[in-house]
């Protein structure tokens, strides 16, 4: 579908409210200040996602949650491994080195993803009046390109352009993360419709 400027603004606003809630949740969880960027709405060929995430084989901790309900979609939160280590250390209250492949660390990361995505979805539901539920989170600590291609291509189809909302979260010291919400094709109409655009 063609996206108008007004619709792009509405999507950015969805991103703004949702990511704001997610940033607050992360801030509460870690007891640190978390800042967020103004969300960007991208409608680009998937191949160009590199320009958004940087080097495709940079290792990142990627938490993937499916959003189910009448306006379904995919929510992905990813941290560079260094930031993921800081987050897990903060949660465990330790300064010992963390192995992100360890089961405890992985369930902690999944829980962080769960909290972030749930708060995003709650904001989305309040905003649009459309009830949405998050799935159980899945996690991969691996190359960012490899994880994103698996998420975007999961259904075996790929539109020529994909639309997603992207927000950067940063915390002091040295926590960086990125949040992507990717509405399924039909959901976009419903979300925009609920907002009257």
């Amino acid at each position: 579908m063609e996206i108008t400027q007004l619709q792009l603004d509405a999507l950015r606003e969805i991103g703004n409210v949702g990511s704001g809630h997610a940033a607050t949740a992360l801030s509460t969880l870690l007891q640190r200040r978390i800042d967020m960027s103004v969300p960007e709405v991208w409608a680009v060929p998937f191949e160009q996602v590199t320009s958004i995430v940087g080097q495709l084989d940079t290792p990142q901790a990627v938490i993937y949650v499916k959003v189910e309900g009448e306006a379904s979609g995919k929510a992905v939160f990813f941290f560079p491994v260094e930031s993921a280590e800081i987050v897990v250390k903060a949660l465990f209250g330790t300064n010992e080195p963390i192995d992100l492949y360890n089961e405890m660390a992985q369930s902690a990361l999944k829980e962080v993803g769960n909290i972030l995505v749930s708060s995003f979805i709650m904001a989305l539901t309040q905003f649009s009046g459309i009830p949405l539920q998050p799935s159980v989170p899945a996690l991969a600590v691996d190359m960012i390109g490899a994880t994103l291609d698996a998420i975007f291509l999961e259904e075996g189809v790929l539109e020529d352009t994909v639309l997603f909302i992207d927000t950067q979260l940063t915390g002091i010291p040295k926590i960086e993360g990125q949040f992507i919400f990717l509405p399924d094709d039909g959901s976009l109409k419903k979300l925009l419709g609920a907002m009257g655009v």
Binding site: E47, T50, G145, A146
Partner: protein, 160 residues
């Protein structure tokens, strides 16, 4: 000094000895590597999905079937003989699993099957298939020797 030519997603490139071809961060996507060991030329494609299904729109380098045709055409244009071509492939992983929910479509597996079939259809022997698993791969292909270096984050590195 060898040049390294980077192949992006849904992209394909050719090279001559001593250059290397590189594609980074393959998940369910597949890197198809083809070379002519006599002429020491070759190419690589980074495909995302099995088949274009006859759809004419979009980028043909995205699909196993159409990308291979483009790649072979360009390699032949460099003087390679189809009968001498050899292939290797890597990728096709299943990166995520949701507890209690088996994936409906294992797109990585389907990509690997499609590449295998298309190579067979073109009569090109597939020497190595490093596919599957739940991890990403970055690959370097030496078109001179046909060596394929496969790097992962947590599953080691190997040359096949």
């Amino acid at each position: 000094m060898n040049g390294v030519i980077t192949v992006g997603m849904a992209d394909f490139k050719t090279a001559m000895v001593p250059d290397l071809l590189l594609t980074a961060g393959l998940g369910s996507c597949i890197g198809i590597c083809i070379h002519d060991p006599f002429l020491k030329v070759g190419g690589m494609a980074h495909i995302m999905l099995p088949t274009a299904n006859g759809s004419l729109g979009g980028n043909p380098a995205k699909y196993a079937d159409t990308a291979l045709v483009l790649l072979l055409k360009e390699i032949s244009g460099m003087g390679a003989l189809k009968s001498r071509l050899r292939a290797k492939m890597a990728g096709g992983a299943q990166m995520f699993s949701f507890p209690g929910k088996p994936p409906v479509l294992k797109i990585g597996d389907r990509n690997a099957e499609a590449v295998e079939q298309e190579l067979k259809r073109h009569g090109i022997p597939l020497l190595v298939a490093d596919v599957g698993g739940n991890f990403g791969r970055t690959i370097h292909f030496d078109v001179g020797t046909g060596e394929l270096r496969i790097r992962t984050i947590n599953h080691g590195e190997k040359v096949v």
